[in-house]
Symmetry: C2
Subunit: 320 residues, 2 copies
């Protein structure tokens, strides 16, 4: 269970040199902690401060991808050895009252539908009282989590943070809310853990390439497990598994295609069409809303040549 009253052993502000932009197992740790320690990390937004609460589409066009992500860390876990497991318990996340979701500029080729959406767009969300405000009275429930949690890779070199790996990174698992744990396979001495890219909410799939991106502070407890072995991340989580944490009416569109990626694309396109037709949103608004809250579920993946993916959206987000 979440323990937001845990005493914090270490506080890490998001100031240089505590922020880095690539996975690199030769980075010097900014701090060394013991198993059991609680650390509070301040995290910049994914762009490292390039987009603020007044950001416009012009700012989106000017994003320097070299500064994405801004990660806080790395921190060393005392005694960690390759082959050990680092279990990170997410205790608390604190936002600053705002976040944004973008349609990325075409040249970045970011997002499931980047070919269809080549003009940038942005929605800046006001976050208050547990909800993120969209247009027309639509409200997305706040469900914050860190998009990037990872330890340094075994491979030597400087690696982009955008794509995740077995040691974690940009996994964008929206269920890593307070009270959840993620266990990561440690690949290098001292583990070298970093965190960032916090989201106020996100749909499974993160279809536009961004959730509700927001600067946040994240408090975590670290546990080193030298007697455990895993090949890939393991999770424990209480969700929420629906936007409001309870079963309620969802609309969905089903993609039936020979490739799961194509099925995900078809399902998302179909849901965007539905939002435009039935809820009077623009295509860009619909894409942004899907990225912030629509869930891609694999209905079945066992009857070739075709697989089935559906995109689900809770209807309780719309005003009555």
């Amino acid at each position: 269970m979440p323990d937001s009253q845990a005493s914090v052993d270490h506080q890490v502000p998001d100031e240089d040199p505590n922020v880095h932009h690539a996975w690199d197992n030769t980075l010097e740790p900014i701090l060394t902690v013991k198993s059991g320690d609680v650390v509070r990390f301040d995290c910049r937004d994914a762009t490292g401060g390039q987009l603020g609460p007044d950001a416009t589409v012009t700012d989106v066009s000017a994003i320097d991808p070299e500064l994405v992500h801004a990660l806080t860390g790395p921190i060393a876990i005392e005694g960690a050895e390759p082959g050990d497991v680092l279990t990170v318990e997410i205790l608390e996340l604190e936002h600053e009252g705002w976040g944004y979701t973008i349609v990325p500029p075409g040249p970045l080729k970011l997002g499931l539908l980047f070919e269809a959406f080549d003009k940038p767009a942005i929605h800046v969300w006001e976050i208050e009282d547990g909800v993120c405000h969209f247009v027309d009275g639509i409200e997305v429930p706040l469900a914050p989590f860190p998009g990037v949690v990872g330890v340094a890779p075994a491979e030597n070199g400087v690696f982009d943070t955008l794509s995740p790996r077995a040691t974690g990174g940009n996994v964008d698992i929206k269920h890593l809310t307070a009270g959840s744990t993620i266990s990561l396979p440690i690949a290098v001495e001292n583990a070298l853990f970093s965190i960032g890219d916090c989201h106020a909410a996100q749909g499974d799939g993160e279809v536009s390439g961004t959730g509700i991106e927001a600067p946040m502070s994240v408090t975590c407890r670290f546990e080193l497990e030298p007697d455990r072995t895993i090949e890939r991340p393991h999770l424990e989580t209480d969700g929420p598994f629906t936007p409001t944490g309870r079963d309620e009416r969802m609309i969905a569109v089903t993609g039936v295609e020979s490739d799961l990626y194509d099925a995900a694309e078809a399902a998302t396109c179909g849901l965007i069409d539905r939002l435009v037709d039935e809820y009077d949103l623009t295509r860009e608004q619909a894409y942004i809303l899907c990225s912030a809250i629509a869930d891609l579920k694999i209905n079945q993946v066992v009857h070739a040549p075709n697989s089935v993916v559906s995109a689900y959206l809770s209807t309780s987000i719309f005003p009555e």
Copy 2:
């Protein structure tokens, strides 16, 4: 909302010639109904009666794939034209107290992990009081739905029912529970709707290739929508979106791979390993349990080269 008290206009028993085994737009309809009519279909299990409540692994090895699926239908919808939409509301499902999940025989190459699991296995579930009984006191909540709902394809020919298509078919969408609707694009005159392959429960992904397969009766209301156009199935559903219909602790394993299919495979393998290690199941039991209840979620699909799929399992199914 479900309306199990709806008066049934037509009753279709699952006797020849009401059962067919392929999609074929030249099949003669067994019945013609009007928009608004309620029809109760008796449906054989997916194998068409080859596996009964006393089935053993020997019976699984002897399955004749030509008899899969056994679908009840087709029925004609009066006045339906290509381009119209058929909306099917699922009103009620009634099981017969048992179902089965199999690891298919290797030669069938059926299931996400068919290469790793080439020896057949079966679990016959007793279903009572809203739960399906597994081994060691493990209980999977009953959440019945039809795995196959579809209208005849536009293409002339005789098509296997195993793989789904845009007109529906073996979509295996576990959220098609009572109270849900699925809208299908009609491709031929009179629509020619068929249904079958009912499941008492299933995980998103249906990883072993079978849910909890069971003979059932399904009651549906049909609505013809000539003024609507869709390219692929549309859904409305109240879920359940978790096995018990409420948020609670789940364990999960995360696959990070360059292809969504490989990520789904890695996540499923990892969850099976966890069930064997932490819950003392055999590998075959773990695979069967995952197929019956574990959910594959696409965490993110937008940061190439790698995508992220996790396999989730509710821990409330285990005895305390």
